[in-house]
Structure formats: C-alpha cells, structure tokens
C-alpha cells in the first residue's frame, strides 16, 4: 500500500478510533500512522472534540453529597501516594498546634509548672488517641477493600452459576482421606476466574485450612485457601486461573494461611 493510500485509510478510521469503536488491528494501524502524520494528529484532535460533545450530551445528574465529602476527605488525607510524606501528618499537626496554643494560654495564666505536667499527660493521651484512630482508619480501609472484593467475587459466582458466562467444568473426586467428598470447579476461561464448590468435606482440626491447587506438568500452583462450613460444604472463588488449562486440580489440608507447595494429605483430585 502506498503512503497516500495508507493515509486515506487511516483518515477514514479516525472517527471510529476517537469513538473507541476501532477493532484491535485498526487501532494498531491508526497509531502507527499517527506517529508519523501531523495532519492526522490534527484531524484526530478535531474528532475528539466531537466525541467530547457526545459525552457531554448525556443528561447531567447531581451526585449525592457523600461522594464529594468522601473525595475531599480522601484528598486531604494524602490519597496521592507521592505526597504521602506531607499530607497524613496534617491531623496530628493540627493537634500539636492546639496543644502549643493551650500551653501558651496556661503559661500566661501563671500556671506554668502545674500546667506543663498536665499538658505533658494530655499530649501523651492525645498521641495515643491519634495513633489509635489511625489504626482504626487503616483497618476500615482494609475492610472496605475486602467488602468490595467480596462483592465482586459474589458477582462472579452468580454469573458463572447462572451460566451467563461460557464455562468449563472439572469434577473432583474424594480420595482415601475423604472418600465421600466431592468437588466441582466451574472455570470461566475468558476471565480466568473459577468458582469451586465442594461437599462432604471432613471437619478440620484447629489451625488447618483447605488449599486448592492446579497441577501442570507435575508442578502444583496454589489457587487459594478456603474453609468449609459446619456441614462440610465450601465455596471458593479463584482469581487468576492459569491461562493454559491445568492437567488436574487437587485439594489438600494445610496449616492456616496456606503453604507455597502442598505438604498435607490430599482429599480431592480431578
């Protein structure tokens, strides 16, 4: 194809590219050409003006005030990682400033010695409080992240169980340690995600968990740990299922937290 032809082809793809509708091959072709054609870069900017207008054609919607509050709380709490050195110290700083002012006020009242001792205690108490609040905040953040990921897992499970994603099934049979146990793994290869369901798992001793493994060429890779409820059923979501279908899947009993490679008795395999 001559340069002029290429130019003409890309020129016709630019609107779709700006719209986000270009297919993968088209995107590559457009980007290769843009790198060397200033005219097309200018054209693209004009098309982006049209897509911006399109985006703005959606009926605006007033967000709930909570979104703004959370955002502002987060940005003044040092959400930007590279600024974490400056921002998080703000709250303790404000407290320190208040204490300094209080000290001045007390000194002015001629309360110096007594006041200072009381203040020292107060500072200590406040520092403890700040530290405690910080810990609590960190814990809340972790909990929030966990709830979000649980929600996402729940959605994934529902999608797989409802059969709305293409999936393949692997059945796992109980081995000698648990002959009655059964397992079923529903894999969604598109999203490299799977849901593992198991029944009649034997009860575990304190400090033990089940761990799921994928086996490929004799090499086990952990697919996460899980626990069973009282009646021996378990449900476990696996993220990052290996791209290449494993040769087999297995469940072993391992110490709490799981291990890098299997050590305990194998209960299920398939």
């Amino acid at each position: 194809m001559s340069t002029a032809d290429r130019h003409r082809v890309v020129e016709e793809l630019l609107p779709a590219y700006a719209l986000g509708a270009a297919d993968e091959g088209e995107v590559r072709r457009v980007e290769a050409h843009l790198a060397e054609c200033e005219g097309c870069r200018g054209e693209l900017a004009a098309w982006q003006g049209s897509t911006e207008a399109l985006a703005a054609s959606a009926e605006p919607m007033e967000p709930s005030p909570g979104v703004r509050e959370r955002l502002l709380a987060e940005v003044s709490g040092g959400a930007r990682p590279e600024r974490s050195d400056a921002a998080p110290s703000r709250a303790p700083f404000r407290i320190a400033a208040m204490i300094a002012l209080a000290a001045l006020a007390l000194a002015a009242l001629g309360w110096s010695t007594l006041g200072q001792r009381a203040l020292r205690d107060e500072v200590g108490a406040l520092e403890t409080q700040v530290a405690e609040l910080e810990t609590r905040l960190a814990r809340a953040d972790t909990e929030l992240a966990r709830s979000r990921s649980e929600l996402r897992s729940a959605e994934a499970v529902l999608a797989l169980l409802a059969g709305s994603s293409p999936s393949r099934d692997v059945l796992l049979a109980g081995l000698e340690a648990a002959p009655n146990s059964r397992g079923r793994l529903i894999v969604d290869p598109d999203h490299r995600r799977a849901v593992f369901l198991a029944g009649r798992l034997p009860p575990l001793e304190e400090g033990r968990v089940y761990q799921l493994w994928s086996l490929k060429d004799g090499q086990p890779a952990s697919a996460g740990v899980f626990e069973a409820v009282a009646d021996g059923t378990a449900i476990h979501v696996v993220e990052d299922v290996p791209e290449e279908a494993p040769d087999a899947w297995a469940v072993t009993i391992e110490p709490e937290g799981g291990v890098p490679s299997p050590t305990g008795p194998m209960v299920l395999m398939g």
Binding site: A18, A21, A22, A35, Q48, A53, P60, M61, R68, A159
Partner: protein
C-alpha cells in the same frame, strides 16, 4: 481506550474561557491543591455522573465510579498534558474507559444488552432528579449536540450510540445489530462526519 495514548497536539483556535480555567485548575491539582480539586469537581461531577449513568444504568455503581474517576484525576493531574484534549475531555475519557472496563466484565454483560437494547437518546425515564442549577451555556451546548444527533439518520445515530455509550467495537456493534460489518463501519463514518459538520456549524 485507545485515544488515551494518542500523541499529537491539539490545535485550538480560540480556547473557550472555561477551558483555560480548567487548565489552571488541573495545574493546581497537580501541585496538590485540594481547593482546586473541589472546584474542578463542582464544575464537572454532574456531567461525568450523567455520562457514567448513561453507560452503566445503575446509579450506585455510577456514583462509586464517579469517585474512582475523580480520585484518578487527583492522582494523575500531573500527567495531563494540554495536548490531546481539554481537561473536561480528559475526565470524560477516564470515565468512559472505566465504564467500558466494567461493561466488559461478565457480570455486566447482560446489563449492557439491556442498556443498548434501549439505546441512549431514546429518553430513559430518569429515576433521579435532574441536575441542580446548571450553567446556561452548558445546557445550550448540550442542546446543540442533541439537535445534531437528532438530525442524523436513525441507523447512523444508533450505531454511534452503541459504540460510544455501549463501549462496543465495530464488530460488536455489527453483531448486536445483526448488520454486516462493512455497513456498520460506513454508518459510523458517515454519521460522525455529519455530526462533526453540524457541531462545527452551530
């Protein structure tokens, strides 16, 4: 989204005043100015939420994403270059790529079908109060786009809306509409040309 990485400089004959305000705000946000961030949020949040809601069709999800988008603005303001698009265009793009990612996740697949089965513009009965006091100019601009869209032949408008608000590629639009790929490509091309001409004329 591909446009995200687009190199190239934007030729801006006559930058609108609010655009240069936005540029100044983004510059301040990049330096960690949270007041500028609040101002930027106040200017664009309702429009961005409108776009997210139009794409995702779930208010709670759209609001959650609105928050993520603006956090990204806060974190990445220093990476914004006045090259590819206006600051507002940049935020729209961040919002749209996130929404597309969400739409592509399996749990949302069905919803996308619902959403595109009743394509945008067909007036989704909005379960929410419209935005509060909106700048007149903003409303006027939106009306111009709505007019320009309304002037398009319906099959061109549908193809464009599926691609843009549904986050679908040429091929996916073709599958969805049951039309040949070539037909869809030319509808999008012709529709976009016409849209641009009417926007530039108004």
């Amino acid at each position: 989204m591909a446009a995200d990485r687009t190199p190239g400089s934007r030729f801006m004959p006559g930058t609108r005043p609010e655009e240069s305000d936005d540029m100044a705000l983004v510059g301040r946000i990049a330096r960690g100015d949270s007041a500028a961030f609040a101002a930027f949020y106040d200017r664009h949040a309702s429009q961005v939420l409108g776009l997210l809601f139009k794409m995702l069709r779930r208010r709670a999800e759209a609001e959650e994403m609105l928050q993520e988008v603006f956090l990204q603005v806060w974190r990445e303001a220093e990476r914004y270059r006045a090259g590819g698009s206006t600051p507002r265009g940049w935020v729209f793009m961040l919002a749209r790529s996130r929404a597309i990612d969400r739409l592509r996740s399996s749990s949302a697949r069905r919803r996308r079908e619902e959403a595109t089965a009743a394509p945008a513009g067909s007036g989704v009965p909005s379960a929410v109060a419209p935005a509060g006091p909106e700048r007149l100019e903003e409303r006027e601009r939106r009306r111009r786009v709505a007019d320009a869209l309304a002037e398009l032949p319906p099959e061109q408008r549908t193809a464009i809306e599926h691609a843009f608000f549904g986050g679908l590629s040429h091929r996916e639009v073709a599958d969805r509409l049951g039309e040949p790929l070539g037909t869809v490509k030319s509808r999008i091309l012709l529709g976009m040309r016409k849209l641009r001409r009417s926007l530039e004329a108004s």
